[in-house]
């Protein structure tokens, strides 16, 4: 476990620097965007000069960008994410409300794409060049070429509007009063279509990576040796070929988790799921700088954490990883 600890220490030191760059970079980007939170607000209300001025003052937008950045960072040091001007609520509450939804959505679709994708990849890669391999490879290529939002819209029309098997949108039944298992089942029912739309494309990616990796491993000498020792085919496929092809997939898992946080903006909007992606989009449209910073910060922490887990898993799966540091 000492290898994992070393990794953790090194990663944490680097992470803080990364987070700081992310915060300052986002702040400057939003600062460069024309219009501020008050401009975004008066779109729907109008208002005379006095009102606009008073709003700018009470939202702290009359101060210089440097002052605002400094006070944001100072508050952040005290673990205070600040107040959202677009929602007039503490940012911590706004994000905590949405975070579980995004995590469930992301977790479920990652599980779907990784689990089913690698299983099908093993199935295809067990006999490279066979009919089932060709079929799965072609099908996955077609799937990978489909844009996520299009798939989502098609799924809605087919399974929600026409067949009415699943609800069109939302995260749960409105004021259903359900609790416990019934509540969880209700959420699951609502999330079938969004999770499918989000997961299916990456499923294709995992399938193809697994299959390609296995096709390469088959040619290696140790596979021949395993055969010569008379191991069952099943054991060779699962314990030797698939295991050696698994490492790139784990790397991909770390990268993909970051992409899914961003990719879910579209899916969340189409299915009206109240997740972080939609919140980020609203924060940009409403020029709510502290809220967007909060979301990006939370997402960045999430991505760093996931990658850390991936690295630890790597160290666990492949004894060579981190060995050099253990000696140093």
């Amino acid at each position: 476990m000492s290898r994992a600890f070393l990794l953790l220490r090194r990663r944490l030191a680097g992470s803080i620097f990364v987070l700081l760059i992310v915060i300052v970079g986002t702040f400057l980007l939003l600062e460069a965007a024309p219009g501020d939170a008050v401009d975004a607000y008066v779109v729907s209300t109008g208002g005379d000069a006095g009102l606009v001025e008073a709003m700018r003052q009470s939202w702290g937008l009359d101060q210089s960008a440097a002052t605002r950045l400094a006070s944001y960072l100072w508050a952040l040091l005290h673990l205070d994410l600040g107040q959202s001007v677009a929602f007039s609520r503490p940012i911590r509450d706004v994000i905590l409300e949405r975070l579980p939804v995004t995590l469930i959505l992301m977790g479920a679709s990652t599980a779907l794409s990784f689990g089913l994708g690698s299983a099908l990849g093993i199935y295809a890669g067990a006999r490279p060049g066979s009919l089932r391999d060709r079929f799965l490879s072609t099908a996955s290529l077609a799937l990978y070429a489909v844009p996520g939002f299009w798939l989502a819209l098609v799924l809605v029309i087919a399974f929600a509007v026409d067949l009415r098997w699943f609800p069109i949108s939302g995260f749960e039944t409105i004021a259903s009063g359900k609790a416990g298992f019934a509540h969880a089942a209700d959420i699951a029912h609502h999330l079938v279509l969004p999770v499918t739309s989000l997961g299916v494309i990456y499923l294709a990616l995992y399938l193809r990576m697994m299959r390609a990796g296995m096709a390469e491993v088959w040619r290696l000498d140790f596979v021949r040796a395993a055969r010569a020792r008379g191991l069952s085919r099943r054991r060779i496929v699962l314990a030797h070929v698939a295991r050696n092809a698994l490492l790139p997939l784990v790397t991909m898992l770390g990268l993909q988790s970051a992409q899914m946080l961003g990719g879910s903006v579209v899916i969340e909007s189409i299915f009206s799921v109240p997740g972080l992606g939609r919140l980020a989009q609203e924060a940009v449209a409403l020029r709510d700088t502290p809220l967007l910073l909060g979301i990006i910060l939370v997402s960045a922490v999430l991505v760093i954490l996931i990658n850390l887990l991936v690295d630890i898993a790597y160290a666990f799966l492949d004894p060579r990883v981190g060995a050099s540091e253990a000696g140093a």
């Binding site: 965007a33 024309p34 219009g35 501020d36 939170a37 401009d39 975004a40 607000y41 008066v42 779109v43 729907s44 209300t45 109008g46 208002g47 005379d48 000069a49 006095g50 009102l51 606009v52 001025e53 009470s58 677009a86 929602f87 007039s88 706004v94 409300e97 949405r98 819209l153 809605v156 029309i157 929600a160 509007v161 009415r164 609800p167 069109i168 949108s169 939302g170 995260f171 749960e172 409105i174 004021a175 909007s269 189409i270 299915f271 009206s272 799921v273 109240p274 997740g275 939609r278 919140l279 449209a285 409403l286 020029r287």
Partner: protein, 536 residues
């Protein structure tokens, strides 16, 4: 569609209108209203502040008008186009310095406390006048509100204020909130701004951010045996195709405010069990306007502005961009307004040759490449139709040798560019006509408005005659004299074109056939829905 054109035509003559509006087919349900049920409605945004006394905007009213009531609501048939709500009668004094409201008796707030004149006085003086986006203009001379008894409120103005204006402002500007909830602490930060407490037929129940708002029946409502519905749920559907899909799948029963895009209406109107309703928005007319920056020397020349007006084919705009769900505009007051509209204005017929001649006359001859001069054109991004009209206008200008460069911004950036930075030559905007030109229309032409005021004259336009008419109308007490002044205003504006009105449009609702009593007043979508019902 058929009742739409019937309605529009009838607007031209006031007498026919009364007959027509009672005979219109979509609202005259012969069925008996049923009790109970949950009406689920599409919502596209979640306002940060749900207090209609502070934020008088349609997005807020859509939800909060069911909870918090105004003194009076717009009405198709009532006297002066109003029907009583929290006030039962209103009367202006001869000198224009006071208005007396008799308030409804036996009304209680949702928390059980009685509604009295103190609440009205508090709302008017502490909220409408100092804090409300529209009230700051209309109630600027309100000095005091006297409360001789619990059910009388007398508004006292420092300067004579036209009673006609106050009357026209009642539906949108006079939402009454409870004094006992708001009197302690900062009004802008009060909890009731996000969970409103009012006197309306529905109580605020819950808001799940990003998902829905739920309102519950107020069993102690003053309207006898109202409301009909048990619950109203506003389901947040951010995707543009979601409302139409949800209607088809019967997950929602109503999509108001054109939540179903115009392009989908044709298809959705053929779905059995759904109806397209164009009535119920006459009091919330949006105007498609070309805003002009008069600081540009070419545009400071009235001949150039007239040439641009001649280059726009209004019929084409209505037919192609609005798919017929709009009316061509002749001036700054929409044709559906009964009090102020005047047809006695110059007409700029679609005439490319005349436009070219005007530009030649103004001295802007085409160069070797056929272009006279270049412009920056900023279409407002708030509506599909404003963006599409931007594309159309660019082509229309190209036909008369004006090379317009389209600049597309998001909402916040557009507001800043046009109304604060004045970084535009032409802009496409959708100002709202709110039943009286003094509320939000005259500021489009008036000079001397500070920088940064949205939806106002930020084009540097200055016309002493128009300013004088606006000032005179603001202190003219006699309703018909005041109306005449605004007719004069329309004529002057269309002559000199500080901005160009192209079309006026109202919104469309799509509803299930099971929903009854919809669109029964000119601000229906933002009224209290106490008589709306749902068939089992």
């Amino acid at each position: 569609m058929s009742d739409f054109s019937l309605n529009r035509r009838s607007v031209l003559s006031g007498a026919v209108l009364l007959l027509a509006s009672t005979a219109l087919p979509t609202i005259g349900w012969a069925q008996e209203p049923q009790k109970g049920g949950r009406l689920t409605v599409a919502a596209d945004s979640e306002p940060r502040n749900l207090n209609p006394a502070i934020v008088a905007s349609n997005g807020v009213f859509f939800i909060s008008s069911k909870i918090v009531e105004p003194l009076a609501e717009a009405d198709y048939e009532g006297k002066d186009g109003l029907s009583p709500r929290l006030a039962v009668s209103w009367e202006g004094s001869e000198d224009g310095k006071s208005v007396t409201f008799k308030l409804r008796e036996g009304v209680t707030w949702h928390d059980g406390k009685p509604f009295t004149s103190a609440d009205v006085a508090f709302s008017a003086l502490q909220i409408w006048k100092p804090l409300q986006n529209l009230g700051r203009v209309v109630f600027k001379d309100l000095e005091a509100v006297e409360t001789p008894d619990e059910h009388t409120a007398v508004f006292k103005f420092a300067k004579p204020t036209p009673f006609q204006l106050i009357r026209n402002a009642l539906p949108a500007l006079t939402s009454v909130v409870p004094k006992h909830i708001y009197e302690n602490g900062k009004i802008e930060e009060n909890q009731a701004n996000t969970a409103p407490i009012g006197t309306g037929p529905f109580k605020f129940a819950e808001h799940k951010a990003g998902q829905y708002y739920r309102l519950e029946k107020n069993t102690a409502y003053w309207g006898k045996s109202k409301p009909n519905l048990d619950e109203i749920v506003y389901q947040v559907l951010p995707d543009r195709s979601a409302a139409a899909n949800a209607l088809e799948a019967e997950e929602i029963q109503l999509a108001a405010f054109s939540a179903v895009p115009l392009a989908d209406l044709d298809r959705i109107s053929k779905v059995p069990g759904l109806k397209v309703v164009t009535k119920g928005y006459e009091g919330l007319t949006y105007q498609l306007v070309v805003e002009i920056n008069h600081r540009r020397k070419e545009l400071a020349d009235v001949k150039v502005r007239q040439a641009i007006a001649h280059a726009i084919n209004k019929e084409f705009v209505v037919k192609t961009i609005f798919l017929g769900y709009a009316e061509t505009a002749s001036g700054p007051v929409p044709k559906n307004d009964k009090q102020f509209y005047s047809a006695d204005v110059p007409n700029y017929a679609f005439d490319i040759a005349k436009a070219n001649a005007l530009l030649d006359e103004a001295g802007y001859k085409p160069g070797a490449d056929g272009k006279r001069f270049k412009l920056k054109l900023l279409p407002a991004p708030y509506f599909n139709e404003t963006k599409q009209f931007g594309d159309y206008l660019r082509q229309a200008l190209a036909a008369i040798g004006i090379d317009a460069e389209l600049v597309n911004n998001d909402s916040a950036a557009h507001i800043k560019a046009v109304y604060t930075d004045h970084a535009f030559d032409l802009a496409v905007g959708p100002p709202v006509f709110r039943g009286d030109p003094a509320i939000s229309t005259t500021i489009l032409a008036q000079s001397g408005i500070p920088d940064g005021v949205p939806f106002s004259n930020q084009g540097g336009y200055k016309n002493a005659d128009i300013d004088a008419i606006i000032a005179k109308a603001a202190e003219t007490l006699d309703a018909s004299a005041r109306t005449d002044l605004y007719k004069e205003f329309q004529k002057k504006v269309v002559e000199d074109l500080p901005f160009i009105n192209v079309a006026d449009w109202t919104f469309i609702s799509v509803a299930s056939d099971k929903v009854g009593n919809i669109a029964d007043n000119p601000r229906w979508a933002v009224s209290n829905w106490s008589d709306t019902w749902l068939a089992k």
